[in-house]
């Protein structure tokens, strides 16, 4: 297949997963303005950080007066799932040159990972298979920029009384909603949530990162003691 065809395939494959990203981007834009970021900072975050949940967490922590160390480490923990994606993708991407790796690394998202991985698995012998991830990744990137911009514009219009900051916890809830059906995840969720309530008064908003590590410790115990490989 020609490069352009593979690129187009990546675009088409990611579209169903990219549609829900649009309201998510709009919510980010509105929230960022609502909690007091400048429109320029809010927009630039979308291509400097380019990770929805991290951007929302970063903006929220910033407006709550968290220490920079807490902001950055929270972003790092939220994004640590990318290690997993990179490790899985590397077997298909390790022959590419440095520029391609930087570009595809930057464009790596949950959605692009999931559709391009299944393409790579079926087409790993094809020479230009990586164009699929360029297609899926760029589509998502473009929609994210566009939808956050729409949200930023909207954020200047919608009245504060709507209480849209309530959309922050709802958005994060929606991202783990499918895990509520799994017992092991429910335990991890409960540990993290209860710990965050107990540790809330600790300085510098450190409760997020401490609760996350406590919960990850519990997940480690669950895996090593109760799951068999």
């Amino acid at each position: 297949m020609k490069k352009l065809q593979i690129l187009k395939k990546g675009f088409l494959d990611v579209i169903p997963l990219a549609i829900p990203v649009i309201p998510f981007g709009i919510i980010y834009g509105v929230i960022a303005i609502e909690i007091g970021l400048s429109p320029l900072v809010a927009f630039c975050m979308s291509f400097i950080i380019f990770a929805g949940s991290s951007q929302i967490a970063f903006a929220q922590l910033f407006s709550a007066g968290a220490s920079p160390l807490v902001m950055i480490s929270s972003v790092a923990v939220i994004n640590s799932r990318h290690f997993l994606y990179g490790a899985v993708l590397s077997q298909y991407l390790n022959k590419l040159n440095c520029y391609w790796k930087i570009l595809l690394g930057y464009l790596m998202t949950d959605q692009a990972f999931s559709v391009s991985l299944s393409y790579f698995k079926k087409n790993y012998k094809k020479k230009n298979a990586h164009f699929h991830m360029l297609g899926s990744g760029f589509t998502l990137w473009f929609l994210w920029q566009l939808s956050t911009l729409a949200g930023i514009i909207l954020g200047n219009i919608v009245p504060e009384q709507l209480g849209l900051t309530f959309a922050i916890p709802l958005t994060f809830l929606s991202l783990i909603i499918s895990e509520l059906r799994k017992k092991d995840h429910l335990i991890v969720i409960a540990v993290s949530g209860l710990a965050s309530l107990a540790l809330y008064d600790f300085p510098f908003k450190i409760y997020i990162i401490v609760s996350a590590f406590l919960a990850l410790g519990v997940s480690y115990i669950l895996i090593t003691k109760f799951k068999k490989f």
Partner: protein, 104 residues
Amino acid sequence: MIWFWVLIAGVVTFLTRYSMITFINPKTLSKTLKEVLKYVPSAVFPAIIFPAIFLDQRGYFLDSSSPQIWGFVIAVVFGYFFNNIILTITSGLVSFWMFTFFFN
């Protein structure tokens, strides 16, 4: 100052994406660690969700009749049964507005 930290956050995010493709031999990532990484969203997000729902800005527990707790409960119920991201958010927001409107 915020620009500086946005840049750092961007670099950190990029490195989580890029490092495994390039620097590190993926085989060094143990099976257990890979399993633990799958729990990251369930371990991080509740720590953002719970205080935002149950505590006020000073860190005190909200009254159980407060609209955001009920909005949250409805979002969980809708999300659980329909397993849909957008429906989770909209059902929570709409019920939050309804509770605010009727009870305040």
